[in-house]
């Protein structure tokens, strides 16, 4: 498979780490080729002069959308925890975050 100057398998491995996504070697190879094809397609933007264009992040600008500072009922804690893979003592249980050699 041709290695492009746009994206390499090393880039894909790095991005997969950022995305917290284990990829098999086959997936890494296929995604490298697919992302390369897409980035090639996206080159149509290069012909546009965007120097004086402001980026647009949302279609309907609203500012400072706050509700009244009044206590509202929240979700039921037991119902929320019941949907978790593992819960204990009213909390979500996860594997160790620090302290392991890795």
């Amino acid at each position: 498979m041709a290695v492009s100057d746009r994206i390499t398998t090393a880039d894909v491995v790095k991005v997969a780490t950022l995305a917290r996504l284990d990829l098999t070697p086959d997936e890494t190879e296929r995604l490298t080729a697919e992302l390369d094809g897409m980035l090639e397609h996206f080159a149509d933007m290069d012909a546009l002069d965007l120097t004086h264009v402001q980026p647009m992040t949302q279609p309907y600008p609203l500012r400072n959308v706050f509700r009244a500072d009044v206590v509202q009922p929240g979700l039921d804690r037991d119902e929320v925890l019941a949907a978790a893979p593992v819960a204990e003592d009213g909390r979500f249980r996860v594997p160790p975050i620090i302290g392991l050699d890795s």
Binding site: V15, A19, L21, L31, L48, V94, P96
Partner: protein, 485 residues
């Protein structure tokens, strides 16, 4: 069965009959459940059918009518819900293994509003995993088939919702549209589909794909039903910070106003890609509106050509962020591992399908250091260009017409392994998501192989009333054309 077959089809007729007592909600529901029993095995519109719950709700509606209580404007109307809308205590999967079995602790605002209006949920519909796709072939639970030709896709991502209405499994349904996911399947299944203005319908409880693009809307068999649905599900919701805090005029009231004097825009630089049979129907649509009294004017939207690129950078970027919440901690699947990072990565590898992984990777890449300005940053500027060019076009013409989909419904597997081939299905629907403008697909005759063609009506921000006037005129013209044949 003869009684059941005689129950009304449209939401308007069902609700009117149930409200005045001439039609029983339980009979309407049995008619729909009978069609589900007959064809659901081959269609697979649903991830979950709620037959018992629907029967009980229908009986409760009839009891309310008998007791003289107002059963609501959608009394007894069977509705199917795309399975990315949260339903309290009822599994909600996004057609993903990562959420299989998860029961949300709350209802989406649309779900609450529909129930309060007397509509009855018959089930949760299949979709491309996390609404990423244009055929439902990306569902982790297998594809939905097009009720008009089961060798073909129903479109996507809301393919199950479109198929449910086309097959008569529900009178109406709810979908979400991030780049065309309501309008394209509506076109391919021969039903009406609407993506309202961004912020018109609350997104609270819609599991997010791309938050600045996602919008909820209806599938129906008539334009009138679509107006009725939006009159119920639209409106400001304090639970959605992007919900528009403005009054929304009744769309039902706008339907009969005709198109006399309206300017309908023809985009002279519409990107190539539509099949000749589809373009022929577009011309017929312009002719029909001209005959109904509208004026056709030419408009240019040069940045339309760059919409696909902007979309396929912005949507995956937002998706990569939104889907970070699926980490094996609070809901759904967990794959055990010695530390949290390994657990996240293993869980996500096992839970997400190939298209979702592809978009997470593309989005993470576009947002990563060194590439942000070149890809995501430039895409946001292209988005601005597209918005501004369309806003200018709506000063010259109240609405624009395009094909909804470049082609009629296509056979399973026909887009092959090239993701870009599938992305091109959204060519004509994407700009209104980027701009936040409303768009709707109205069935307008047939194209290749006798399959339906949808015409897309596009309008400016919050100009749903004019869009619906044009949609209703196209529907009248299509009916007239059909009866003249």
């Amino acid at each position: 069965m003869s009684d059941l077959a005689a129950t009304p089809v449209t939401a308007a007729a069902i609700a009117a009959g149930v409200r005045d007592g001439s039609v029983k909600a339980v009979d309407v529901m049995e008619a729909h459940l009978a069609r589900i029993a007959q064809r659901e095995d081959e269609i697979h519109a649903f991830n979950l059918v709620l037959a018992d719950e629907a029967r009980a709700a229908a009986a409760a509606i009839d009891a309310a009518v008998a007791a003289g209580r107002d059963p609501g404007p959608l009394a007894g109307v069977p509705v199917a819900l795309k399975d990315n809308m949260c339903t309290r205590g009822v599994p909600t999967t996004c057609s993903s293994k990562i959420l299989a079995g998860w029961k949300p602790p709350y209802d989406a605002t649309v779900v609450t509003k529909l129930a309060a209006a007397g509509a009855i949920a018959v089930g949760k519909t299949n979709l491309d995993e996390f609404a990423m796709g244009s055929s439902t072939e990306n569902s982790a639970f297998g594809p939905t088939r097009n009720p008009l030709d089961i060798s073909r896709v129903p479109g996507g991502s809301s393919g199950g919702s479109a198929a449910a209405v086309a097959a008569g499994f529900s009178a109406v349904s709810i979908g979400s549209d991030t780049g065309g996911s309501i309008r394209q399947p509506a076109a391919l299944c021969g039903v009406v589909g609407v993506k309202p203005t961004y912020g018109y319908v609350s997104r609270y409880g819609l599991i997010a794909f791309a938050s600045s693009l996602d919008q909820i809307g209806p599938f129906t068999t008539t334009v009138h039903d679509a107006a009725l649905m939006l009159d119920v599900i639209g409106g400001h919701d304090p639970m959605d910070s992007t919900s528009i805090p403005a009054a929304q005029p009744s769309l039902v009231a706008s339907l009969d106003r005709g198109v006399e004097g309206l300017r309908v825009g023809r985009i002279t630089d519409l990107p190539d890609g539509a099949d000749p049979d589809v373009l022929e129907r577009l011309e017929a649509a312009f002719d029909a509106l001209r005959e109904a009294g509208a004026t056709i004017v030419d408009v240019q939207v040069p940045a339309f050509a760059n919409a696909l690129t902007a979309y396929y950078l912005i949507a995956p970027a937002e998706a990569s962020s939104n889907l970070a919440r699926f980490d094996g901690v609070r809901f759904g699947l967990r794959v055990d591992a010695p530390d949290t990072n390994a657990m996240y990565s293993a869980t996500r590898a096992a839970g997400f399908g190939p298209e979702v992984k592809r978009r997470i990777m593309l989005g993470t890449y576009a947002l990563s250091a060194g590439y942000y300005d070149a890809y995501y940053g430039r895409a946001l500027k292209v988005r601005r260009l597209i918005h501004d060019e369309f806003a200018r076009a709506y000063q010259r013409a109240e609405v624009l017409l395009t094909p909804t989909s470049p082609t009629v419904a296509f056979p399973f597997g026909s887009k092959g392994d090239n993701p870009l081939a599938m992305y091109l299905c959204d060519l004509y629907t994407i700009p209104s998501n980027l701009a936040g403008h409303p768009g709707m697909s109205v069935p307008f005759g047939t194209g290749a192989d006798g399959l339906p063609v949808g015409i897309q009506v596009l309008a400016g921000t919050l100009d749903e009333p004019t869009m619906f006037r044009v949609g209703a005129a196209l529907e009248r013209a299509a009916a007239h054309e059909g009866s003249a044949r």
